[in-house]
Symmetry: C2
């Protein structure tokens, strides 16, 4: 679950998602957008229960579901059996998995697909805050008696020319804008360098690591990644932080995953259910 300025984006929805959301006291009525990376059970089998629960509490807001081509048929088939009379609308947004595309964009956030290499059509998702206008310094408005019509331009980054013909540079008039924060999610996928350009410089990259390097043949065969490969993507994309997960249940302990990745990319954390990671809202130059 991505909380982007109190907008809740649910990314994949495996079996038991609603149970986990309740456990961690997420107000899941706030989820209006669900992004499904691919149609494998561990990424979608929780969707139907969530839809049922939304209906049970009388949800009215439209639920937007993004997913690969087949998702529309799957959802329609499902509703045929279980819910013909939903209390809310479902808007299904299908995406192509061959090239990156902007699938959602408004004044706050942009969501771009990340084509991945898996056994079925699969995309990851890049979430990026939109740049908001600069904040103008109040005292400067007073000092130079700046008229309202010029304020919008200054917020956009323009300098200001006083009635005396003196040019005041924008940097003196405004605070630096907030950095635009970003999060990228890549699961499930074989090692794919095509990802690097898209996730370049993101604040947090989640990348699957189903296997350890010693099982890299198995990773290649099943189109999954090793921990080392995930770290290489993070390193080459120069992201700020790497989160890894999706560990195969064949391993008794997951400690080795973190260690293996950290050898390549030290800023790696192996994640557990319920973990929370935040990216602070700070003023300064965005990396992306």
């Amino acid at each position: 679950l991505l909380n982007a300025n109190e907008r809740f984006f649910l990314i994949d929805c495996g079996e038991g998602t609603q149970i986990q959301l309740r456990k961690y006291r997420i107000r899941f009525g706030k989820i209006n957008h669900i992004f499904i990376s691919h149609l494998h059970g561990d990424h979608i089998f929780g969707l139907f229960g969530l839809i049922s629960s939304f209906n049970l509490v009388g949800r009215t807001a439209t639920l937007h579901i993004f997913g690969p081509d087949q998702i529309e048929e799957l959802i329609l088939d499902h509703l045929k059996f279980f819910q013909n009379d939903l209390s809310f609308e479902i808007a299904v947004h299908k995406f192509q998995h061959h090239r990156p595309a902007t699938i959602l964009k408004d004044s706050n956030v942009e969501v771009i697909t990340i084509p991945l290499k898996h056994r079925v059509p699969t995309c990851g998702f890049l979430f990026r805050e939109m740049q908001v206008p600069r904040n103008i310094k109040k005292e400067m408005v007073e000092k130079y008696s700046i008229p309202i019509r010029d304020i919008v331009k200054i917020k956009e980054g323009k300098d200001y020319k006083t009635s005396q013909g003196k040019t005041i540079p924008n940097s003196e008039l405004t605070l630096p804008p907030f950095r635009t924060r970003s999060y990228a999610y890549c699961s499930d996928t074989a090692y794919s360098e095509d990802v690097i350009e898209i996730v370049k410089h993101v604040d947090i990259l989640y990348h699957e690591t189903t296997f350890l390097n010693k099982d890299k043949d198995l990773a290649a065969e099943t189109l999954h990644s090793t921990s080392r490969e995930a770290a290489e993507i993070a390193s080459k994309a120069e992201v700020r932080k790497l989160l890894i997960g999706h560990f195969s249940s064949r391993y008794k302990s997951y400690d080795t995953f973190e260690k293996e990745a950290q050898e390549v990319f030290p800023e790696t954390t192996a994640v557990n259910d319920g973990d929370v990671f935040s990216v602070s809202r700070v003023r300064g130059k965005s990396m992306t």
Copy 2:
């Protein structure tokens, strides 16, 4: 999950069933029979994940799934999207929901449907051990030099006539047979006296109690039962023990459910996930 002499019968399969089975360390590879009472999400949304997991571990044994009419189409539809190449076969057994019927019977157990009153076709299930032959007392075989050809008849309850023409009554030759144990599961349903005859004298009756008596109008409207109604069924059917569950999440505490039922039927327990109830294997007269 019903463990009948180490045969595992799964009864309904809501979202997260496989997660709960793992949590309670149930070896779910031993499940060969799944009984679905009706096609509401909280009774079937865990089936697809369970099928996936069976496939992932390379299950080969046929999985028998029993359910109302539509279940076959639902499962076929599902497999179309997710699994065309299962490592095992699924045998779907559809049942009619209008009258009780034996849907499984072998030398160990018999399963009979219990027609229920709900918003969609719904049946509960009665599981009954089959009567096994009496155990003959070894010392009697020696004492009367009983030939092998007569032993089978004696196990079936016949008396024995010695070569001297003396009749030895069966009760002297054999131990009393084990009682045949029984379990009945009724969810979801409005109060229905049709159930009583079918579940008469069972060792354990599970009956849903979605609502408390104070909300009996809501129970009637949604075709669910109150705690008091479940207890009335148990009392009229003279069962040994009543288990209640399926409490609406509208209630903050479930203590009242147990108290309300116990006023009518003292041998009532409100159940929680992970609870285990056993029926001892004892010799003596069966009640059913």
